[in-house]
């Protein structure tokens, strides 16, 4: 009986829950896990569901707790703002190191984004970023939030946030140029 009920909820709410988790975590893989965990937890504590709220509200409250847990773990593993990226692309006078200086990508037609191979390189380079940096650069496109709100959500000061973005983008750009344009 219980299983039938939960099973019905899986059919009804999985999609909304998944999309919500994806907006919050920016990773499809992690979102799938979180939704699965939520249903596991729901099965275990179904007796505490009294019907005061709708099933959807109840499931989302469990899911939100899972998302918070996920962030908590992540903040603990947070990468510090280490400066190795900066010192590898800029010299002591804060000018570009010659070898790492941006070169012309000459994508005049702007068709580069259509190319599957380019998208692969971009994905490879995004995945190579430290996890928190990866999350920071993606967040703008996952939520409709502005810079200030994103900072609040991540518990970062504004200057800390754009310093992370700065380092992440320097590394991304460098990675793309080396993997794509120099071949």
């Amino acid at each position: 009986m219980t299983n039938e009920l939960i099973s019905k909820w899986v059919s009804l709410y999985t999609e909304d829950m998944f999309k919500w988790a994806l907006r919050k975590t920016s990773s499809a893989e992690i979102s799938e896990d979180l939704v699965q965990d939520t249903f596991m937890a729901a099965t275990e504590k179904i007796s505490s569901f009294k019907g005061d709220s709708t099933p959807k509200t109840w499931l989302f409250s469990i899911l939100n707790n899972k998302i918070v847990d996920y962030y908590r773990k992540k903040v603990k593993q947070a990468v510090s703002l280490e400066d190795s990226v900066l010192s590898s692309v800029f010299d002591k006078t804060e000018s570009w190191v010659n070898k790492r200086m941006p070169r012309d990508w000459s994508d005049d037609g702007g068709h580069l984004l259509d190319e599957e191979d380019f998208q692969k390189v971009l994905k490879h380079c995004l995945d190579a970023l430290p996890e928190k940096w990866n999350l920071c650069v993606k967040l703008k496109y996952l939520t409709d939030k502005n810079g200030q709100e994103i900072c609040q959500e991540l518990n970062l000061t504004a200057s800390n946030f754009w310093q992370i973005i700065h380092r992440a983008k320097l590394q991304l750009r460098d990675c793309i140029e080396r993997n794509w344009f120099n071949n």
Binding site: F39, W96, L112, K140, L172
Partner: protein, 86 residues
């Protein structure tokens, strides 16, 4: 004279930082001016600005693709199976 020069001239590191900040926050008047002056003199940072905007576009594409890629029905099936096997 020296202080005016100092005000306008920012390093490449600082210029690229402003380029990134601009995607999220409104730059102050003096920041905008500093960035403009720097980019007019530094080809590498001007290129960086273009490429950075291009990468932003690429990231938004990647995310749209990720959204489409996930098979919700398959996920439902997996969860159903997981619950049954408990």
């Amino acid at each position: 004279m020296r202080s005016i020069k100092h005000f306008f001239l920012i390093s490449c590191l600082k210029a690229t930082e402003l380029i990134e900040k601009k995607f999220y926050f409104k730059l102050s008047f003096s920041e905008r001016l500093q960035l403009k002056v720097h980019k007019s003199m530094c080809k590498a940072c001007a290129l960086y600005g273009k490429q950075s905007a291009f990468i932003e576009k690429g990231i938004s594409w990647q995310i749209k693709k990720e959204d489409l890629k996930v098979d919700i029905e398959a996920l439902k099936t997996r969860i159903h199976q997981m619950l049954e096997s408990k």
